[in-house]
């Protein structure tokens, strides 16, 4: 029972679902001697878009990196499709079907767009074909021979998302995909996330852009000082606006 496992977690965890994809319990993480996460609890169900909101330095990105296994020291429990992964290496986690799109996009300068797209290996059947990717991001098709880092910020973000869609991973973690982008590109990214959700992808999003997150997310968690301090569904958003403004300082 997910509810039983998430005892003590915020209310948004109580969304009932038989298909819990990710369950994080008492997650603690360190950068060297710095203790960053102090017992994070949340879950993500199949087909959902869940957003972690919070101020700068709250621990949102560290939470994603901890799930992906790229934080050196972490403890607690991270269960992905009922398998414990808190001690797994990041390459093993990726091969289980978790894909990560970092905040800095991670486009490789020594690779052209095609090589960047083809870089992540297929980890499962069912990834998007190149044609489907070009249908989502037509700009990329015209820039295949360009050096990855010569693309505009928006195109780089599209490339960063596109390359993890090929792999067959169906749980995507997107770290601030709208950061530094023009409104028209942000709208395009939002439409893409909506299409991916329709196609059955489960998405864990980190955002500071609350307006954007409110258009795509099913549920929100608020991260502060390395903990989840609150959570609610999108349908409860209006009722929680005052609290949200206080949490985010907007």
């Amino acid at each position: 029972m997910p509810e039983a496992k998430m005892a003590g977690a915020p209310a948004a965890n109580a969304v009932p679902s038989a298909a819990e994809v990710l369950s994080v319990q008492n997650l603690e993480a360190w950068y060297g001697e710095s203790h960053i996460l102090h017992g994070v609890n949340f879950n993500v169900n199949a087909g959902e878009v869940v957003t972690l909101l919070g101020r700068n330095g709250a621990g949102k990105t560290t939470t994603l990196k901890s799930v992906m296994g790229i934080i050196g020291k972490r403890s607690g429990s991270i269960r992905f499709n009922n398998s414990e992964i808190v001690r797994a290496s990041s390459d093993r986690i990726a091969r289980m079907g978790v894909a990560f799109c970092p905040e800095e996009r991670g486009i490789f300068a020594s690779l052209d767009v095609r090589e960047n797209l083809l870089l992540p290996p297929t980890v499962k059947q069912g990834g998007l074909s190149m044609e489907q990717i070009f249908d989502l991001f037509p700009n990329l098709k015209e820039r295949l021979k360009s050096q990855g880092t010569k693309l505009s910020g928006g195109e780089q973000q599209m490339l960063a998302i596109a390359r993890i869609l090929r792999t067959g991973a169906n749980f995507l973690m997107l770290d601030e995909p709208t950061e530094g982008l023009a409104p028209v590109i942000i709208q395009q990214i939002g439409e893409t996330i909506a299409r991916l959700k329709k196609q059955g992808f489960t998405i864990l999003l980190v955002e500071q852009n609350f307006r954007f997150a409110s258009t795509v997310a099913d549920r929100f968690y608020i991260v502060e000082h390395g903990k989840i301090i609150d959570g609610f569904a999108n349908s409860e958003l209006q009722a929680n606006m005052d609290k949200l403004h206080t949490y985010l300082g907007v």
Partner: protein, 287 residues
Amino acid sequence: MQALYAQLLVGLINGSFYALLSLGLAVIFGMLNIINFAHGALYMMGAFCAYFLLSLTGLGYWWALLVAPIIVGIFGMVLERTMLQWLAGLDHLYGLLLTFGLALIIQGVFQNYFGSSGLPYAIPDELKGGMNLGFMYLPIYRGWVVVFSLVVCLSTWFLIEKTRLGAYLRAATENPTLVRAFGINVPRMITLTYGLGVGLAALAGVLSAPINQVRPLMGENVIIVVFAVVVIGGMGSIMGSIITGFALGVIEGLTKYFYPEASNTVVFVLMVLVLLVKPTGLTGRAA
């Protein structure tokens, strides 16, 4: 004129060894960020491996070309797993000191057992003799070394620059954490890459054995020039290392003809000039 052509040929042969060795160094530096001072000792091990294969098992030159790089490459992978991997992320100085110490130990062990004089290694029957090209006499083995080195260098360049595996290597050079988060076992790839770089050094050692004999200190002098080649070409640049290796061999050969007194220093003068004008090397990128 015949003397000029002869020096050009010597330059091309030296250039072949410089290119093969600097290519291995560039691959290792690009991927592991380690300045591998043990490269000269591993080159020597390749030559000794060919010698042992012949004297102990009867396997000749052609088998040595295949087997010696594999054996020495595996030895290199053991070094990487047991020692070098712990230096990841530390200052370059640690890797340099460790590999320099390893070079001293490896060379010392071989010197202890085999002395400093050379052990003979014969040119294979198929490559004995020479060809009169009209303007010069070309020993077949020396021509073979130049052509074979060029083929190996270009194949390695193709592997790294034009294949999916090479794309993994290049990407892991930039951001190993992210490449691993894509599902690629980067630590295993690093070990194999070190093995590849070491295997190239051993291959150069086998090629060198019939020309320079098999000597415990054969890598000591050549490695200094090879580091100059890598610096001039651009640290971590594959094509830069290949072109610079051959070019410097030829320049050294020409200097021997026109101004022999400067032949041992011309490479280092060039290195200083290149570093003054372009500190990242001729084809290197700024960090």
